[in-house]
Amino acid sequence: MSPQMEIQIIAVIVAVACSLPGVFLVLRKMSMMSDAITHTILLGIVIGFFMVNSLTSPFLIVGAALMGVITVFLTEMLNNTKLVSEDSAIGIVFPLLFSIAIVIISKYASSVHLDTDSVLLGELAFAPFNRMKVFGIDIGAKAIYSMGGILIINLLFVIIFFKELKIATFDPALATVLGFSPALIHYSLMTIVSITAVGAFESVGSILVIAFMIGSPVTAYLITDNLKSMIILSGLIGGLNGILGYQLASFLDVSIAGSMAVMTGVVFLLVFIFSPSRGLLTIVSRRKRQKIEFAGKSLMFHIYNHEGKEEEALESGIYTIKEHLQWNEKFLKLIIKELKDKEKIYIKDDIIKLTESGREYAIKSYEEIVSGF
């Protein structure tokens, strides 16, 4: 297998593995926890390194995953004192743990290969150099197997505990009533997030872990309302981002991890603007249409109120009405044109009058509004 192929396979595996727990982070409004965890696992790795004196020991992964869970625990403890809001708690805990890690690294570990840059940025291009060998036979890049293992763990976790995760996410109270602890589900999820972050940071760096964990689920969130399809979609989008990112990186000859993050942003932006159900274009045009519709109703109520009264010429006069509605001229003209086209109003002796259907419509929508209260 060519290294290029291997890199793309690793990217896709990482993307899918990250997006599985990421979906629940997004839905549980804990996205920034991924940011905190991806930073603090560095401290776990450093401490693990000093205990076993090796950079390849699986003990490091255990230490790092543990540190991720500790981060969550500390943040919640701080938040539970009620002295600090949740966002501030995150903003205090992870920089502290990260700082301790950097201080330890710069003080003691400068002689070994443990530099902070590679943790943060990662370099996917080097991943194929690290081979997996069984009985001396090369069976592919190591990252494929390590991340593949994590992907399987995550898949099993989401499939087996799908119902529990779903209920604990959308209705924690119900979860408690049904007899399973939301806290247990919460910490299991956080353990999965930590393990995934540890596995992924080596090949793609911690920042890209955030892009994959949050970026693709958030994009999928804009497309679907169904949890199952959101999980599947975010896996697909993550894989797509990985491949597109690799193509961009090899075209420009720049950082692969960085390009993947950029592609995550580009794909998100496209969906954000053009998504048929909740895209920016749809929302803006819907809001505009609602505004015009509402203004049309207001104008008709106004005319209806003053219909046949003495002040009608002044209140509903085509030149004076804008003083009473306090609209600008352009907007008023637009609304009048709209209503005239729909034959709800007509103009007679420079006074705006309701047509028969207009009057009926005004009365009907007035009653609709009133009955709404």
Partner: protein
């Protein structure tokens, strides 16, 4: 150590820079923390990276003010995008932060690796913005920080009332006729500027701590915004100077992380020991409250007994006073202690046979208590 501070020119410059940074981020951070936007600092500082790289790419210059201008523009752009995502979709603030943070930072890395490939480009030093490199601070950088700091703090003073009201209750502000949109935008610009100022010293990753930690620590000591802002600036400055000195005393200690560790210690200390809000105070207050509540219960029991016997001076043995629970030696001791305490408050009295009865004053206390409950 003292003469090192007095004589070492670099150390003086760096300390001054860190102190300035502490003051600025302390002041602006107070508003960010109150508005529950402290993680915005994290997102903005990460998002500044592509701006720095682009500024260098376009000008080939490494002058601080040019790079920081680039950082400022991309920081503001990221803030704008984050707020727009929240406004125009159902995506929550925290997800928008995480997304934009990683996308912009990734873009920054792409640009940095691109710059490295350009022949003759003297890009060394740009990565310093990731972790911060306080020792590279020059006198000119300090001047820039100083000027920006003065501008920011003057603006805070001028718009004090407006910032205060949009931070606590922006709906109310709107009803009073303040243009909250303009004021919030100005505040955002100022917070982003404060973040950018700190990038060179503590780097994009730790800058969020400089914005959050001093303000959180200050919040514990006071309920007044003005005091909080001043205290926060003070904590920021102190941690900046101490962190800088510590990192220069011990070799190979990086400045940014040391500053963060110092300010975190101040936060932990404040959380524990601040009067009223502090955890230790709260612990003692809770214990005191628990004790009076328990004492009240004992007193109510005495009151009921007195009512049953229709005689105020009828004394009772302790096993009768607490009839609802089985008596152990320990709880008997505790009960005696509570009765003693009630006695010293003049609410209960003991006779010669170690039996207890309620006093007139105790009667009044209980009746008042019930009246209060009824209200």
């Amino acid at each position: 150590m003292l003469d090192m501070i007095l004589t070492d020119y670099t150390l003086q410059i760096v300390s001054l820079g860190s102190a300035l940074l502490g003051i600025i981020s302390g002041v602006l951070g107070s508003f960010a923390v109150i508005r529950k936007e402290s993680l915005l600092g994290d997102a903005v500082s990460h998002s500044a990276l592509p701006g720095i790289a682009l500024a260098f790419l376009m000008t080939q210059s490494k002058r601080t003010e040019i790079l920081l201008l680039g950082a400022l523009i991309s920081g503001l752009l990221s803030t704008f995008i984050i707020l727009s995502i929240v406004k125009y979709s159902r995506i929550k603030f925290d997800s928008a932060l995480a997304l934009i943070l990683s996308v912009f930072f990734g873009g920054g890395i792409v640009l940095l690796t691109y710059i490295q490939k350009i022949p003759n480009a003297n890009q060394a030093g740009l990565e310093n913005f990731i972790f911060g490199q306080a020792s590279t601070l020059l006198k000119r950088d300090i001047q820039i920080m100083g000027i920006l700091g003065v501008v920011l703090i003057t603006l805070i003073v001028i718009f004090w009332k407006e910032f205060k009201i949009v931070s606590f209750d922006s709906d109310f502000a709107e009803s009073l006729g303040f243009s909250t949109k303009k004021i919030t935008t100005l505040l955002f610009i100022m917070i982003v500027t404060a973040i950018i100022i700190g990038l060179q010293t503590v780097g994009v990753i730790l800058m969020s701590a400089m914005l959050t930690a001093p303000a959180v620590a200050a919040r514990q000591w006071t309920d007044k915004l003005s005091v909080m802002v001043v205290l926060s600036a003070l904590f920021g400055a102190v941690s900046g100077v101490i962190g800088t000195i510590l990192s220069s005393l011990v070799s190979k200690l990086p400045t940014g992380p040391m500053i963060v560790i110092v300010i975190s210690i101040i936060v932990i200390f404040s959380l524990c020991f601040a009067p009223n809000r502090g955890l230790i105070w709260k612990y003692f207050r809770n214990r005191k409250k628990e004790r009076t509540i328990n004492e009240d219960q004992v007193l109510v029991n005495l009151y009921r007994l007195a009512m049953n016997h229709e005689d105020l001076n009828h004394s009772h043995n302790i096993s009768i006073i607490k009839p609802d629970k089985s008596m152990t030696v320990k709880s008997a001791k505790e009960l005696t202690k509570k009765l003693e305490s009630l006695g010293s408050r003049g609410l209960a009295k003991k006779d010669y046979f170690n039996k207890w009865a309620i006093t007139e004053k105790g009667l009044e206390y209980v009746e008042n208590y019930f009246k209060k409950e009824e209200l």
